[in-house]
Amino acid sequence: MESRRNPRAVVDPKVRQVGFFTSSQPDSSSTQQQQQQTDPIPASASSPPVSTISPSGNSLSPVMIPPPRLNSSDTFPLRGAAAGASSAVSPSSFSYSNRRDFPDGSTTASPGRHSRGSFVKSSTPVASSLPGIGMDSMAAAKSSSVPASGLTTVSVATMPPGLAEKASGMEVQSDQKKNSKPLKEKTTKAERRAIQEAQRAAKAAAKADGGKVPPGTSASVASTSVKVAKPAKPSTQKNEVSVAAGVTEKKGGPSEKDRKKDAPHPRMQYDDESRVVKAKRRAVVKQTEAKNRVELFRHLPQYEHGTQLPDLETKFFQLDPMHPAVYKVGLQYLSGDISGGNARCIAMLQAFQEVVKDYSTPPEKNLNRDMTAKISSYVSFLIECRPLSISMGNAIRFVKNRIAKLPITLSESEAKAALQSDIERFINDKIIGADMVIVKHAVTKIRDGDVLLTYGSPTAVEMILLHAHELKKKFRVLVVDSRPKLEGQLLLRRLIKRGISCTYTHINAISYIMHEVTKVFLGASSVLSNGTVYSRVGTACVAMVASAFRVPVLVCCEAYKFHERVQLDSICSNELGDPNAISKVHGREDINYLDGLTNNANLQFLNLMYDATPSDYISMIITDYGMVPPTSVPVIVREYQKEHLLV
């Protein structure tokens, strides 16, 4: 590995511009990485140990009050088109400077030059130490038989990791562009083995050097297991691929796949007969299809409710593929004991923690792959119990990504500990911490004399109201509720117990009470990237009436619930609840008009669970990254989604 210390004299000043998208604080990030190794839960470390992904070198702790935009503009490198373009270009600039090392790289010399020229204009000189290091690693690459992975291995050892990751990541990509295909063909099993050996050696060497740990050792793993780490590929690479298409024509393969994986999966459509049959064969939960279904919603699953629960309960002790913790959570979903986005998500993550704790790699299997498969099977079980919420989808994505990115060098127990702590951190930072930040923000919007309206029983809003009450703010709360869940009654009870004056009404009366309202606080199940708020059914009505009465609508939603999917209506993707809940009115025996009609072919009951609120009704979305207009949602999704995966 001495080759990595080969002095590279190529200090092209223009190459420095690459620093534009790396973090400007190499020292801190390097220490962070040390922490990551020693202490698996660095408080706010988000610098990724995996080098192929470059976005947020050292992002903020998610609990922090959103940073001033100015500040963050250099911390989060991929902010806007200019950055994207430059990142797409930069690899070729590297390749240009190093082309002597790679004979086949020389062909790209002129595009590299061109692009670099354009790049220089759009970038600012930030990191100065980078180029040399980058060259360093290039040289190292030369020494190893497979440059792509060798690069990453070596680069980490000496350079400030925050930077190194970026640099090496880019180089890997640029290399891949030029010679990945031949390399792929060349690398035999033995060679890959050799690479891994080399990595271990590098790691050992680095440890010996100064206790510095190369998290990048996993890079090669990552690059080989890219297919497993499905949602992780950041847009950087996508852009690169597309921009430098001329160069990459021959390559294509894996990154194309990645791009496909990047796009949100199409959901299961339940009007597709063959797929439904297939899914049924796999299913653990034998749900009986509801008979009398609404034509418009054939594409959504609708089952007879309450029929399968006892059966599943008896199976509790005889299910070997299912982990009991997951099984328990699934049953709780099914019975409705756990509801509410955050509660469901936390329950699921905690079950996964249990799974990880009890996990042991089967012989002749790879921990990463086997555990991903396990988690996938658990997830499909949970889906059978109740369709996933978008926030849960994000959390699962996070967990799978973490598993995929586990350094292969870690022992099983280390890996398990790392995973558990990752999940723990997700719960603490992204859910609980985020709520606290939201409360802190939202409370500033409550003034004395306000009349606040809320709908349903959103946890974040409840915390806000209670906190504002603790701050001795004088306000009144209007709790609007709707059938069939009547969750507002629970909220009402809790608020009254705490001494807050409340008015209770049902959603039909919303126009009547909206006159006196000064602000509307709503919760959300998810915020989609076109600004649509996907939430408990009725939220759209409330928001619509509020905006008709010129009352500001504030939506409180943790950023982990944001999703890049877009949706225009509430029909295409939704969840159907128990239709019988509509025909029976709880506590009102006099309302029994529909008794005995439930099996009439002409009569259907539609119990929608969610609806999509158009963004024009929403004044502001309060998230853990601050208070933003709905138009800024895609920005948050773009900037922070990657970070979620990397936390």
């Binding site: 709707s482 009254i496 409340c502 009404t505 939704n574 309302i591």
Partner: protein, 407 residues
């Protein structure tokens, strides 16, 4: 007479206790009561129309005060007053025509030096008034430029008339009362037949495979939809259940019984579903003179959603629901709050309501009606056809006389 009094008292009681639900039922009861009031009213020889009007007004005021929110009562009282005035007028006109003929044949000279001639003046007034109220304005009358004196109150004319015509007084009296009762009977017929009249138009508005959203339970809507169904149109109806009274359940039950494809949705899903709905059809509780609608609670929400998605919002209203008043703050002033027990079980919340230290207060709001401003309404379908909201004031002028607007 005393039995009329007791009938009125009984009806007032019913109204006050909200025993009578639905504007059609209320309207019908009111008309029938007024008919018996009129038939029992002893009419003086002179000025019998005024006496009838006074009697009806007196009863009407009681009824309206008993339930000021049920606008149909006031509407019907005004309709009856209008009938009385109209019958009186037509009788007068007929009488005047006879008088005129007499005048013209007998004293030509007086007629020549007219202008001050009392009967001639009176006849002109009556003719003008009759023209303006009874007949549609023809091009000729427009050109003639009817004199402003047409607005002279016709109590004077009828007074003059009764003075001048003492000969067949008794027959005239009987005739007026008879005509009025005849007119009231017609009104009753019209009120009970308004469903059919409206339903006849259904076929023009509902097409094949339509998806219709409705809320609340309205007999008019039911008949309307069923009429389209009977004409072999197949369509789908979404019914919002209309918590906390769940009248939607009632409507759904009847629709299903008549074989319509019905889907019950929660009120909260109205916005979610409206994008797939072709038309919103609701029955009004009352239609105001500006074209605004008072309907079952939740209607404004549906109207806003329909507006947002450019879905036609159609209001069905029998003519007895046309109210000649302009609404002021109708959400509050023309509304009614029902029992909180429909929303909250008192037993469940009694422990929260001790209002002791550290415990907040609880209010429950449960309004009955909702006001839809005219700009959200696409079309009114009444028993006389379809109308724009902006045309409502004109329809109302057909049904009520301006003197009765304030009772």
């Amino acid at each position: 007479m005393p039995d009329v009094q007791s009938m009125v008292a009984e009806f007032v009681n019913k109204l006050r206790k909200r025993k009578i639900e639905g504007s059609q039922a209320t309207a019908k009861c009111t008309v029938e009561l007024l008919r018996s009031v009129i038939s029992h009213q002893r009419v003086p020889h002179a000025n019998q129309a005024a006496a009838l009007i006074d009697a009806v007004k007196a009863v009407g005021q009681q009824l309206v005060a008993a339930n000021p929110v049920e606008l149909a009562v006031g509407n019907v009282v005004r309709r009856v007053l209008h009938i009385i005035r109209e019958e009186d007028l037509s009788l007068t006109t007929a009488a005047m025509a006879g008088l005129d003929l007499l005048d013209a044949s007998d004293d030509d000279d007086i007629d020549n030096c007219k202008g001050i001639g009392y009967p001639a003046m009176s006849a002109a007034v009556v003719a003008a008034a009759a023209r303006s109220t009874l007949r549609p304005p023809s091009l000729q009358t427009l050109l003639e430029g009817t004199p402003e004196s047409a607005t002279v109150p016709y109590t004077s004319s009828s007074g003059a008339d009764s003075e001048s015509k003492t000969a067949d007084k008794s027959s005239l009296t009987r005739k007026l009362k008879h005509d009025v009762i005849e007119g009231v009977n017609q009104l009753i017929h019209e009120i009970s037949g308004c469903h059919e009249q409206i339903a006849e138009q259904a076929i023009e508005h509902i097409h094949q495979n339509e998806v219709i959203l409705t809320l609340g339970s309205s007999r008019t809507v039911l008949e309307f939809l069923c009429a389209a169904k009977e004409k072999k149109r197949s369509f789908r109806v979404f019914v919002a259940e209309g918590a906390p009274r769940y009248q939607g359940h009632l409507l759904a039950k009847e629709l299903v019984a008549r074989g319509l494809q019905t889907t019950v949705i929660t009120d909260s899903a109205v916005f979610a579903m409206i994008s797939r709905v072709n038309m919103v059809i609701i029955g009004a509780h009352a239609v105001m003179a500006n074209g605004g609608v008072i309907g079952p609670v939740g209607v404004n929400m549906a109207a806003l959603a329909a507006k947002k998605h450019a879905v036609p919002f159609v209001v069905l209203a029998g003519s007895h629901k046309l109210c000649p008043l302009y609404p002021h703050n109708p959400e509050v002033l023309l509304n009614e709050l029902r029992s909180p027990s429909e929303l909250l079980d008192f037993g469940e919340f009694s422990d929260c309501l001790d209002f002791g230290a550290g415990s907040g207060s609880l209010q429950v709001v449960n309004p009955t009606f909702d006001y839809v401003p005219p700009n959200l309404v696409s079309l009114f379908i009444t028993d006389t056809g379809g109308h724009n909201p902006s045309y409502m004031y004109r329809l109302i002028a057909d049904y009520y006389s301006a003197d009765d607007l304030v009772m």
